[in-house]
Amino acid sequence: MNEEDSKRLLKGLITGLSGNIDVENNKNLDNILPFWYKNKLIGNFEKNDLIRECILKADQNGYHVYNYNRGFVIVVSFPKNEMKIRTHLLDRFFESIGDENNYGGKNALQYLVSELVDNIYQHSHFSHAYLGVEQFDDFFYVCVCDDGVTIRESLRKVQPNIKTGRDALLKALQGVSSKNKERGWGLSSVINIARNGYHAEILVASSDGALWMKDDSQKIFNLEDESYPGTLLEFHMTLPLKEVDIYDYI
C-alpha cells in the first residue's frame, strides 16, 4: 500500500469515527459520504486528533480504549494472520463492550462484528485492517475497514464478467461468494440485521462501488476515480437498541 492509500484508509476510519469533516483533507470521503455528514453533530478538531491517537496506539499495541465522560472509543488493529493474537483482541473487545443488553441483546453485536472481521481474514489479504467503535451519549458507531483485495476483485475470481464495484456489491449482497456456493451469507446477513434489526444507517464502500442504506432508502454510488482502496463498512445506530433476534435475519 502506498502512502497515499494508507492516508486515505486512516482518514476513512478517523472520519467515520469522529464524525468530523475536514473538507480540505477529507475531500474523497466527503464525496463518498454526503448523506452522513449533515446528520453528524459531534466531532471537532480536538476529537479528530484523539481518534488519530487511538489508531496510532492500536497500531502499536493491537488495541486501544479511550473512555471519557460521555462515552468511549475502541480501536482494534488486526494482525495479518496470527490466530492467537486476533482471537485475543476480539475477546478483549467483547469484554470491553460489556453489557450486551445495550447493543441489541445476546449475540447480536457479536454476530455483526464476528462475521465482518472473519470476512476480512477470509477474503482481503490486507496490510492494515481495523475495527473501530464509538459510543457518544446515545450515538453508537461501528466501522470495519481494510486495505486489501476489494469485493470486486475477490468476486472476479468466480465471476470474471463483473466489471464494476457496484455490480460486485450487489452480487455480494445477494450472497455470491468467491469461495463456493454454500458460502456468501456473512455480508448479506450482517446488512440484514443492521438494516432491519438495528435500523442502522449503513455505508459499504469497496473499490469504485459504494452503497448507502437507511430504513427504506438505498442508494448505490459509482465512485469512479474516487475509489476506496479496500473495503469499508460503517454502521450508525441510536441507543438504546431494541433487542434483535439474529435468527430472524440470517
Binding site: D30, N31, I32, P34, M83, R86, T87, L90, D91, F94, K106, N107, Q110, Y111, S114, E115, V117, D118, N119, Y121, Q122, R166, L170, L173, Q174, G175, E182, R183, G184, W185, G186, S188, S189, I191, N192, R195, N196, M213, D216, Q218, K219, I220, F221, N222, L223, E224, D225, E226, Y247, I250
Partner: protein, 113 residues
C-alpha cells in the same frame, strides 16, 4: 481395540467467542494430535459463535474419523447450528427493484445543493 476418550473444553483451546472460520482447523488438528478415538467437546463456556465458524465446523465434522460428542451447548449455539443446517436459500437485504445509481458528479452536485 482400546478406546481412549477425552473431554476437551472448546473455550480453552480456542476462545469463548468462536469467530474465525480458520480456527476450526486448529480445533480439529488439536483433536487429531491427541491420538484418541473418542472425544467429548465441552462447549459450556462458549458465549457466542459466528455463522462462518458454525458452517465450517459442520463441514469439517463430517470428515472426521474420530468419534466426537458435543456437550453443554447453549441454546444460542444450538440455534446457530440449526440455522446453518437448514439454510437453503439466501435472502438479500436489498430491494433490487428500487436501487438508484448515482455517479460521483451526482453526489457532488447533491452536496452543493
Amino acid at each position: 481395540m482400546t478406546i481412549f476418550k477425552k473431554k476437551i473444553r472448546v473455550d480453552a483451546i480456542l476462545s469463548q467467542h468462536l469467530v474465525f472460520r480458520d480456527a476450526v482447523s486448529d480445533l480439529f488438528d488439536y483433536i487429531k494430535n491427541m491420538n484418541v478415538t473418542k472425544v467429548v467437546l465441552d462447549f459450556s463456556h462458549v458465549k457466542s459463535i459466528s455463522r462462518s465458524f458454525a458452517q465450517e465446523y459442520l463441514h469439517q465434522l463430517d470428515k472426521q474419523s474420530i468419534k466426537i460428542k458435543e456437550v453443554n451447548m447453549s441454546l444460542q449455539l444450538k440455534k446457530m447450528f440449526r440455522s446453518v443446517k437448514k439454510a437453503h436459500r439466501k435472502s438479500s437485504p436489498l430491494n433490487l427493484n428500487d436501487i438508484k445509481e448515482l455517479s460521483i458528479q451526482d453526489i457532488i452536485k447533491q452536496k452543493n445543493d
